[in-house]
């Protein structure tokens, strides 16, 4: 595989299919029904946002798609191939950047690449540099993790996730811990990169506005047990501005639905 293959967009985005997935966590006597009969299809190159209050199983579902966990029942597949372990075709970005402090920025981005066969080290280095440039950190190759701001850390994490050229990007509240200004910059960047790199993205957040800004589709979850309640298609042109009026219209509708679905449930659960 050559370098141009590696950074070309030709690793096509994958189609995800989630069918009747349930997951329980049992610890001692307590048992949490994290996901109950969840079904969801994500198209090739689609940007899907999962929203819902905390505890409704969003991270659990993402981990199942990542292959970090196994479902109790149901089927998850990427392009028809069942998922039962992590794979380079699905990369994950976590809320905490989870960068390795003993490696510099370049080393972090290289970590996944080094596990990828068929490349020379020089090519891996070139690939890593390509993605660091893509996220705007070409000047920080040799910086260490503690020297970066929260936003820069998430950019490195994004470069690290993109570097093995996955077909699916799984993002679990990646901007949750950032300040509003940094977040807005990243909304722009992630939309640009998504359009450039043509990935299928599943993006978890509890911020409805963020979901409406980024997603082609917003999937609403409710907790206890975790279920999909409603889905919203967002057909605004891109790139979208988080502060636009049209966006606010969608946000209002989703927020209303969220309150509608979650309130009664929460009261029952108390």
């Amino acid at each position: 595989m050559s370098l141009s293959d590696e950074v070309s967009v030709e690793a096509p985005a994958a189609k995800l299919s989630i069918k009747g997935v349930s997951k329980r966590f049992v610890s001692g006597k307590r048992s949490v029904h994290a996901l109950d009969d969840v079904s969801l299809d994500v198209g090739e190159g689609e940007f899907v946002c999962l929203v819902g209050p905390s505890g409704c199983g969003k991270s659990t579902l993402l981990n199942l798609v990542a292959g970090l966990d196994l479902a109790d029942s149901g089927q998850i597949s990427a392009d028809g191939i069942p998922i039962n372990a992590p794979g380079r075709d699905r990369m994950v970005m976590f809320q905490e950047a989870a960068l390795f402090p003993w490696l510099d920025v370049l080393g972090n981005v290289m970590f996944g690449l080094r596990r990828k066969p068929g490349l020379t080290d020089a090519e891996r280095c070139k690939v890593a540099e390509f993605y660091l440039r893509l996220v705007g950190l070409e000047k920080f190759h040799r910086a260490f993790v503690h020297e970066l701001s929260g936003g820069m850390k998430q950019r490195v994490a994004l470069a690290r996730a993109l570097a093995p050229n996955p077909r699916v990007l799984l993002m679990d509240e990646p901007f949750g811990a950032l300040d509003a200004l940094t977040r807005e910059q990243l909304y722009g960047d992630i939309q640009r990169i998504w359009q450039q790199r043509k990935k299928t993205i599943v993006f978890v957040t509890h911020n409805v506005r963020e979901a409406a800004c980024l997603g082609d589709r917003v999937v609403l979850f409710s907790p206890h047990p975790g279920r999909i309640r409603e889905q919203f298609k967002i057909d605004l042109p891109r790139p979208r501005d988080i502060n636009s009026v049209e966006l606010a219209r969608h946000t209002t509708a989703i927020t209303a639905a969220l309150k509608n679905h979650v309130r009664p449930e929460a009261e029952v659960a108390e």
Binding site: L68, F100, F111
Partner: protein, 254 residues
């Protein structure tokens, strides 16, 4: 440079103070020799080679036992962190033995191995091993689980994860344990050398012991200075670079 100057000034003042105390004649010169006499002893011992050979004997014992203790302790610590059975058995034993003052191994070593190099080796290993096991185990348990999860998504698993993720992530703890192990090993080796004669080699501890037997206070103090110097050098040569590395990478305040 300023710091070096200050340190030099401080120690010069210390020696001057010592010399003044000696000259005041308040203590018998047998109990408190002049620093110049101590210096003369050190010079003579260096010239006749006895100091160098004793230093080599001691440092070699320390180094062999310490390295062996590390090589054994690191993997054992990783294993106790990984397998509950080992944590409940070996891990518990290490925890207990680590709390035991390592000098306590000296009588046992003498009974088992006699007055031999093996006894010295054993004492140093026992000083090192348990601290290193405990620190490594502890370090691994403190690695944020998210690191291993992130590594898994990037195609790392099994031994690769242990070598390239868990181990480096646990390094700050491990270096702390290495340092403690070194301190224990060094102290117990000195105790052993002072109290036991090992015919295969006279270490610094023996010189210290003979200094007392001969009532040669300048020898006792001179050897103590050498021991102090070795301790300082070990810190600067072995541990400071590690700590600088950790400080640099992790950004931990120190």
């Amino acid at each position: 440079m300023k710091r070096v100057g200050l340190a030099a000034l401080f120690f010069a003042a210390l020696f001057v103070g010592w010399e003044l105390l000696y000259r005041s004649g308040f203590w018998s010169p047998v109990l408190l020799p002049s620093p110049l006499v101590v210096g003369r002893y050190l010079w003579e011992a260096t010239v006749d080679g006895s100091l160098l050979s004793a230093t080599l004997v001691t440092v070699k014992r320390l180094f062999l036992g310490y390295v062996f203790g590390l090589l054994l302790g690191l993997p054992l610590g990783l294993l106790t962190a990984r397998f509950r059975v080992l944590a409940d058995t070996l891990g518990l034993m290490a925890l207990g033995l680590q709390a035991l003052p390592s000098v306590c191994w000296v009588p046992l070593a003498l009974l088992w191995f006699g007055q031999t190099e093996a006894a010295m080796f054993f004492v140093v290993v026992m000083g090192t091993l348990w601290s290193v096991i405990i620190a490594t185990d502890n370090g691994v348990r403190n690695v944020p689980p998210i690191y291993a999860r992130a590594a898994r998504t990037m195609g790392s698993s099994g031994l690769h994860t242990w070598l390239y993720v868990i181990f480096p992530a646990a390094l700050p703890f491990i270096v702390g344990g290495m340092k403690q192990g070194w301190a224990f090993a060094w102290r117990s080796l000195m105790a052993a050398e002072i109290y036991v004669t090992i015919l295969s080699g006279f270490g610094l501890g023996h010189l210290l012991h003979y200094g007392r037997e001969l009532n040669a206070m300048e020898q006792v103090i001179g050897i103590m200075l050498v021991l102090l110097l070795i301790g300082l050098l070990a810190d600067k040569i072995f541990f400071s670079p590690w700590e600088r590395f950790l400080h640099h990478r992790w950004g931990t305040a120190k």
